[in-house]
Symmetry: C2
Subunit: 241 residues, 2 copies
């Protein structure tokens, strides 16, 4: 009987390759198979971050998203397409693991903090040994680069996905906690409106691709665009009581 | 004129020394002066985590808390004592920096996520060049070791310090978001009561010193103690709507 392989789900941090952990670098270098998500025509952020550590003999499993242009995530086509895609990715990983090969699955930030890799972990279930390596989140990378220590002392923190509906976003922002808004994309106009409605737009800072070479940091009020890339977030300082 | 030194505020991660970033390890090794907080009679968590990387010729600035037993943080004696302590620490750091020496200030987890080092950064102000290196938070270390991917998809996350008063804790818990409760210490009975009041105590998981050799993880319902160490937190999964 073949001994089954282990899947290491490896958080590679927010973007700067030096913000990867020592453990992530070691496990990547030792992985005979490296799997990662990527958009069509692109290297894939996690693959790019991990580049210097991937062994020359490693097999790469490129898991390429099936959509070339952005389909709204509430669209039925997106839902069925993404389900089929994750199923197929899982089959490819399981084939390696069943053959006794360890797989390193790269994941931006921290795998247990909104990681796409969770969809594959759910599907792999308990059939294979799984080891998760935490990483520096994009949120930590973002507030560090912006120079904003968002939470200290007795402050509470809210992390809100921009995918929440307008009413819930405004309701949470009205509480006044220090807030990080993730998953902006095409949700940016809705998020901006909720910040304005709760009188918090003027203090909001926009961080795009924090710690990466293409990093942009500016007050949200100065941002002209109506959409933002996936690797962007908004920091809202605590409202003084 | 002497060129002033730079202070590097270095996040060393949640406890496992291998969960330090490559950047933290490099900067620690290159720092002629290493500063860290410690309790009387103890090595100091950050010092212990960084141990393998501190250069043999490095000068160590041990910043020892003035209290041997725990004084409640709302006590006036605590407030005046801790202020004088942070002032004195800042004077010691500033002396090194003014003499042109770089200082590496070690910080558990991520410096901008409830870091004690913020008290020194505030005091140093803009007199010296400051570089902050983000780290893996204790929160990420905790949910990874507990095997609980607390936030995914459209879930919101609340991070609450246990120092909040009972009413505010219960109010936030009633919302039903995935929640991490930090800073337990002597606040544990109050936190437990707020979880019970909002019917969330049964799902709560207690994590003590996550990723460290002394790690303990168990359902909160099975925890007998009425106080918890500083390096502990409670994870509360999202309430199903």
């Amino acid at each position: 009987m073949t001994i089954r392989g282990t899947v290491h789900v490896i958080g590679v941090g927010p973007g700067d390759p030096e913000l990867m952990t020592l453990k992530a670098a070691r496990v990547i270098a030792a992985s005979p198979v490296i799997a990662y998500f990527a958009k069509r025509g692109q290297t894939g952020h996690a693959r790019r971050i991990a580049d210097a550590h991937i062994g020359p003999a490693a097999e790469e499993l490129r898991l390429e998203y099936p959509f070339t242009t952005e389909i709204h995530s509430k669209d039925a086509l997106y839902s069925s397409g993404i389900t089929a895609f994750y199923d197929e990715c899982t089959t490819r990983l399981a084939a390696c693991l069943s053959a006794g090969r360890d797989v390193g699955l790269l994941c931006e930030g921290d795998p247990f903090f909104y990681g796409s890799s969770l969809a594959l972990l759910d599907r792999l279930g308990t059939d294979f040994r799984t080891v998760v390596i935490p990483g520096v989140t994009g949120m930590s990378g973002g507030w560090t680069r912006a120079g904003i220590p968002l939470v200290r002392g007795n402050a509470a923190l809210s992390v809100l996905p921009g995918t929440l509906d307008a009413g819930r976003l405004a309701e949470r922002l009205a509480v006044g906690d220090a807030t990080v808004i993730m998953k902006l994309g095409s949700n940016l106009p809705k998020v901006r409106a909720a910040l304005q409605e709760t009188d918090r737009a003027n203090e909001a800072i926009y961080v795009e691709r924090g710690t990466m070479p293409e990093e942009r940091i500016l007050p949200l009020a100065e941002l002209g665009e109506t959409a933002a890339p996936y690797f962007s977030l908004i920091l809202v300082p605590e409202r003084r009581q």
